[in-house]
Amino acid sequence: MSLKSTQLPTPTPSKSRTLRPTSLLNGRISLPKRPAGTVYRGREGMWSWVLHRITGVGIFFFLLVHILDTALVRVSPEAYNAVINTYKNPIMGLGELALVAAIGFHGLNGLRIILIDFWSVGTRNHRLMFWIVIALWIVLMLGFAPRHLMHVFGAQ
């Protein structure tokens, strides 16, 4: 007898909280708990795209402010130093760390995108390349973060 979805038996409540009702349907049918995954969705391909967008937007709005505050050198040394000195506190220092982290990921993942587009086996290896990007990004941040935090939190 084939089991139609409308005839599914009501799952017996399980004492175990690790098993969800949807995975207990007669032990035969497992309904997806969320939209079915694909080779793309919820995996390296999607998350690299999401991170690339978010970091890109963040960097863009920083760039707008960065051009404007740097333009203050044309106003006067006093005006430029006054604004730059408001950046010299721990909160902005951590913001600079986040900025470098965003730029580091965006740049490394950008190189990965170029390899996917132009390297004959780039598409096949895009997931491996994502993890290489993450590894290189960690190395980059390990090199930058301690020194930068010393500049931010250290004695002047």
Binding site: V57, V73, S76, Y80, I84, L111, I114, H151
Partner: protein
């Protein structure tokens, strides 16, 4: 009524391609990759000199910037950085506006007042203004402005104390 059929594989009337000629989206795509490659190298250098070398971010002040822009090398370095990065960023934001905002259906005032059009206009306006502003600042910059506090000037200025 008899219908005359063409011979097999007879060419239809010439295909009229929409917007034949320049493929702007393709050149935008090429620009993102070409500029991105250059930006990875140049921004690494920018961050190294400004945030890593010496006393890092705590050393940034007018004298630091003036010391860099007294040299044509850094003037041109920052000019190239400005144009490549801002156009790269603006083109990326254009992609996001296209992705997340419905382009207007109407014309005239209805188009002008649509969020899509307003955001694109603001983006273009901000980009053009900042490109012009940044370029002017880099090349009209005076590292030793008179009537400034001499303590804030770089050491090579005659008035510097």
């Amino acid at each position: 009524m008899a219908v005359t059929l063409n011979e097999p594989r007879t060419k239809d009337s010439p295909v009229v391609r929409r917007g034949a000629g320049k493929n702007w989206e393709k050149w935008g795509w090429v620009y993102m990759r070409a500029s991105g490659l250059v930006l990875v190298v140049m921004i690494f250098g920018h961050l190294y000199v400004n945030l890593y070398a010496g006393d890092g971010v705590s050393a940034l002040d007018f004298a630091f910037v003036a010391g860099k822009w007294a040299s044509p090398f850094w003037q041109w370095y920052d000019l190239v950085l400005l144009w490549l990065s801002l156009i790269h960023g603006a083109n990326g934001m254009r992609t996001l506006i296209n992705d997340y905002s419905i382009s207007p259906i109407g014309t005239g005032l209805k188009k002008l007042l649509s969020p899509h059009f307003i955001m694109k206009s603001a983006l273009l306006g901000a980009t053009v203004v900042l490109l012009i502003l940044g370029t002017l600042v880099i090349f009209t910059f005076d590292p030793c402005p008179v009537s400034s506090n001499p303590e804030l000037l770089p050491s090579f200025c005659p008035a510097a104390s």
